[in-house]
């Protein structure tokens, strides 16, 4: 009898784990390199964009062993941003949220903020999140945004069903608005969509 109960419990746990796992699809976790992510050319040319280089890193990760490291140089005293992106067509009709994890080292200052930006539809519309997330030094911060019709998580757009059906780029931007100044790495990992 005990054996049967044990087997049932293990089976239950496995089924639960499988269900949870099935709820999320990891799009990029940088276990095999940059996986197509890059700094857009225009961002290298703009003086208010301060990312210096990107590379896979095994220093910190929220999923697997690697993350994307972006080296930045925020001077402070004005708005500056650091951005990475991937151009790829996605249909997320079956998903309700997009999420990613961002880490800044313990000795980084407070005050950096981050958003996800999507480029959507035939018009390649640039759509930023309507609010930014504060990055906390020494902690992974998870950014989450609702993709479903009526979502308020996106700026200057009425989100309808077509929004998530035709996503063409994902950008992640970290910014400093006057302060803080910070020179060092930022780690990005585990970009995923959630049912």
């Amino acid at each position: 009898m005990r054996k049967i109960i044990t087997v049932l419990m293990v089976a239950g746990l496995l089924l639960t784990a499988a269900a949870v796992y099935a709820e999320e699809t990891v799009l990029f976790d940088y276990e095999n390199g940059l996986e197509g992510w890059e700094v857009p050319d225009w961002a290298y040319e703009k003086p208010d964009h301060v990312q210096k280089a990107i590379a896979p890193s095994d220093m910190y990760s929220s999923s697997g062993n690697f993350s994307l490291e972006m080296d930045v140089d925020f001077p402070g005293g004005r708005w500056t941003g650091a951005i990475v992106e991937i151009m790829q067509f996605f249909d997320w009709s079956d998903y309700s949220k997009i999420a990613c994890d961002i880490y800044i080292p313990e000795d980084a200052p407070r005050g950096l903020k981050s958003v996800i930006i999507l480029t959507v539809g035939d018009a390649w519309k640039w759509v930023e999140m309507s609010r930014s997330y504060d990055l906390v030094p020494g902690e992974w911060t998870t950014l989450t945004a609702d993709l479903t019709p009526g979502s308020i998580d996106w700026r200057r757009i009425q989100v309808d069903d077509a929004f998530r059906q035709d996503v063409r780029k994902i950008d992640i931007r970290v910014h400093s608005n006057n302060k803080p100044a910070y020179t060092g790495p930022i780690y990005i990992d585990n970009i995923r969509v959630i049912k």
């Binding site: 309507s130 609010r131 930014s132 997330y133 308020i152 700026r155 200057r156 009425q158």
Partner: protein, 237 residues
């Protein structure tokens, strides 16, 4: 003619001539403009200038539909005590947390731990920075609760930051909180609303909201150290 004079007062005759004259003017104006629309000339000549000067009328229809923006069931969703308010002697919000003690909707609310010293103006302020288009809504609403042991005299208002110049717009009135009861603060965001201090909203006002803040004030009194609960921030139409 004698019959006419006997039955119709002189003032009515004068009015009649005036009406005919005004109608004639309207006709001439329309003809000169080459307009082919069938709008009554008398109406257009009298009402058009008035339209430009009259502020938009506020609808008195009841609010029948609401959309919840923040109910604190799954976290703060970005609400915080702003950095500039932390450590200021006249700002009384010490910290915020999620609470299951009271809720006006669902199971949770945002709890502000406040400390109003009394004897001077002080306020507890929480806010969210998020770009929102509230253009589809006529009012913004928020529920506030102070425990029944709390003193009377605390007042609350909504503050919006709107537009590309980040204009800070306070409600023109504050709403008294009632110990032991949920109180709803309602502000009209329609064009022409009188609910905002030094600003009469235009069409753009609600379409480009960048921050929502809730401020609870004690003006000299009362003294109060304890929790204030905020829940169910929503738009209504």
């Amino acid at each position: 003619m004698e019959y006419f004079r006997a039955r119709v007062p002189a003032s009515a005759v004068i009015c009649g001539f005036l009406i005919i004259a005004l109608a004639g003017c309207g006709k001439e104006g329309k003809n000169n403009g080459g307009t082919l629309t069938s709008v009554s000339p008398a109406k257009s000549s009298v009402k058009e200038p008035a339209k430009k000067e009259t502020p938009p009328a506020i609808s008195t229809r009841p609010i029948t539909e609401e959309r919840i923006y923040y109910d604190f069931e799954a976290g703060f969703s970005g609400w915080e005590i702003p950095v500039w308010a932390q450590g200021k002697s006249d700002y009384a919000a010490k910290e915020i947390g999620l609470s299951e003690e009271f809720a006006s909707r669902g199971k949770k609310s945002m709890k502000i731990s406040a400390d109003f010293p009394g004897g001077k103006w002080s306020a507890a302020l929480v806010e969210i920075q998020q770009y929102l288009n509230l253009g589809a809504y006529r009012v913004i609403l928020v529920d506030l609760y102070v425990p029944k042991e709390a003193p009377t005299g605390l007042k609350a208002k909504l503050i919006l930051t709107v537009g590309s110049n980040w204009k800070f717009v306070e409600m023109s009135r504050s709403v008294p909180l009632i110990p032991g009861e949920w109180v709803t603060v309602v502000a009209n965001i329609e064009p022409g609303s009188h609910d905002w201090k030094r600003v009469v909203p235009d069409e753009e006002f609600a379409r480009d909201v960048r921050k929502i803040a809730v401020r609870i004030e004690s003006n000299q009194k009362p003294i109060y150290e304890g929790p204030i609960y905020i829940d169910n921030v929503r738009g209504g139409k």
